[in-house]
Chain length 356, copies 2
Amino acid sequence: MSRKRWRSVKEIRIADVARLAGVSTATVSRVLSDPDKVRKKTHDLVMEAVRRSGYIPNSTAQKLRTRRTMNVLVVAPRLTNPVFAEVLRGVDDELTESGYGIIIGNLDNRREREARYVDLALSRQVDGVLLLTGYIPGNGRRSMKEAGLPIVGMCAAIDDRSIPNVVVQDRESARRAVEYLVRLGHRRLGYISGTIGSIIETERYAGFCEGIAEAGLGAADFVRWEGPFVFSTGVAAAEGFLQMKERPTGIFAACDESAIGFIKRVRAERIRVPQDVSVIGFDGIEFADYTEPALTTFRQPLYELGRTGADVLMRMIGGEMRPEDWSIRLEPTLLERGTTGPVLHKDFASLRRSRM
Amino acid sequence: MSRKRWRSVKEIRIADVARLAGVSTATVSRVLSDPDKVRKKTHDLVMEAVRRSGYIPNSTAQKLRTRRTMNVLVVAPRLTNPVFAEVLRGVDDELTESGYGIIIGNLDNRREREARYVDLALSRQVDGVLLLTGYIPGNGRRSMKEAGLPIVGMCAAIDDRSIPNVVVQDRESARRAVEYLVRLGHRRLGYISGTIGSIIETERYAGFCEGIAEAGLGAADFVRWEGPFVFSTGVAAAEGFLQMKERPTGIFAACDESAIGFIKRVRAERIRVPQDVSVIGFDGIEFADYTEPALTTFRQPLYELGRTGADVLMRMIGGEMRPEDWSIRLEPTLLERGTTGPVLHKDFASLRRSRM
DNA sequence: TCGATTTTTGTAATCGATTACATCTTGAGG
DNA sequence: CCTCAAGATGTAATCGATTACAAAAATCGA
């Protein structure tokens, strides 16, 4: 039982430094925060005392007095998702430059966790909130807003017009994905969803449907498989695919992971990609560069998204929002690579012309 | 110029609640933290006032007074690395259960960032520190320890015997990887490194060398390629590999990413895995399940590592360390999958027997 | 050198909770 | 009904900084 009391070592306070330097605490504070306000000589005296004592201000006391925590809460649906990790990197870089820290709010796809982070925000542990998720429900957001907390949404079309939103054009890009598949000759499509109920999924599916409509196709021309944003969703979709008699020839997956899972599974049954079935993903995770062949996908400007969102939040906190910050949309770029190609023998039209 | 002052809305204080309920602030405080200490009737009275006013305690004030921040700093070398993301998930689950929050210290592989997080810790913004990295240098760690801050290392063999360490058996597993390749008949090996100077790399390479020695091989029997823990390191290694006349037949990569990068590149040159070259990775990231064939690798118990480390830290903070918490080693498991196999034609011995 | 002005420094209030200690209630037992 | 212990509540100090305001010191021009 090696019981041992941690903490409670020395703890140097500003008063100690003041005594050591023979000045008042006010002067020490000024030296540290606004050096121009004190005489050079006093400044040096105090700094020497600070150095000698190894004083570091207690930031909790600072926070209480100044009412600024220099922390931001970042709520993300799931940390291990590389998409969010990359956004977070952008956020981190931007915030660090402004001297802000990140408190992580990881929902890990569990809604019960929302409340915890709403409370955390409301108990003034942070100066602002970055929502990488649509999960925090309306009333949570509302109470944060009522508390005067700056919030920036970074999730496709959070349905709340009253908070600034920095997003990637999910819907429009999903529409373009369909357009792209149709241009390659695909007429029977498949849609692999993301987490049902998530806004990202909703947007992407809406875009998919727009694309279907624009191509003059209808509900009978595509099949939809559901599941969360993970590899195994693609595998499950593949199982469904394999059991169909008239299989789709073009698959749009709402995320790269499921696209990859799908491909892996159908390959095991000797179905070739893209000859037998074309697959397009979404997100452009690094991993998608290393599948064979490399996955065709929409690459989102994730890092930039993170930086931009954080920048807007910093502006809100600083009280200087510009109207053009209110709603920012970034555009993904289509990476045409190896998993998509023109329709071959499996398509009706082609069948008529050439067999196999 | 939509300038607008955020924050500064209502701000309900404990005094407001007290007035509303007709009691003192002390009583309100007690109701909220230690309900058994007050009479039922007063309790209800106060709770009603809390509800009506929507009071939420200012956690900064609480922290100052109680000298507990209920936050932990987690320093990681790089967020986008799925390995750390997974560890972080374990940490998060454990800490959340104890009511602790996470402040993220992302070094993003840049050493300059260390200082920032040491300061953050020393300014008492957190009650403890979890080091997922060996980067924080000795003097940083020392000052944190002197400040009485509980620290737990979660990085292979942080060279500091004075802080508890929860680690995965990197070295031993690397040794076993070599043993495994040798058992398959491989005599010419390749080693793809991780970030030079990182402790993880150092350990894994040491284990690799141990394995080489145990197999009765020497420095002439393997080649080493260097680079950070990323996909492209494997690609670069493959370039080197391709230019050799007598190529290794068994490759150990210090991380799955570089193993995958390697495979992707050599495949492009029609080299078959595992027939022409066996590849074994390290980490067992989820992605490695979805390559074709699935990557042979050592899967680290990352989630468990995170939970355990966080648990030990909680113990330290609570002042109840057990001796067996001091140093914990978790064991990775070998996943024998599709990228390794017995030596075929490329090996000297085999060549003698059968051509091609 | 003096007074007015500016610059520098100090005093003490403040941020919003917790909690030691004092005081007042309550209820049991005589 | 009274006493006394136990329990409930209130008062005020405290955590460690920042900062408004007051006071002191330095600077300047005449």
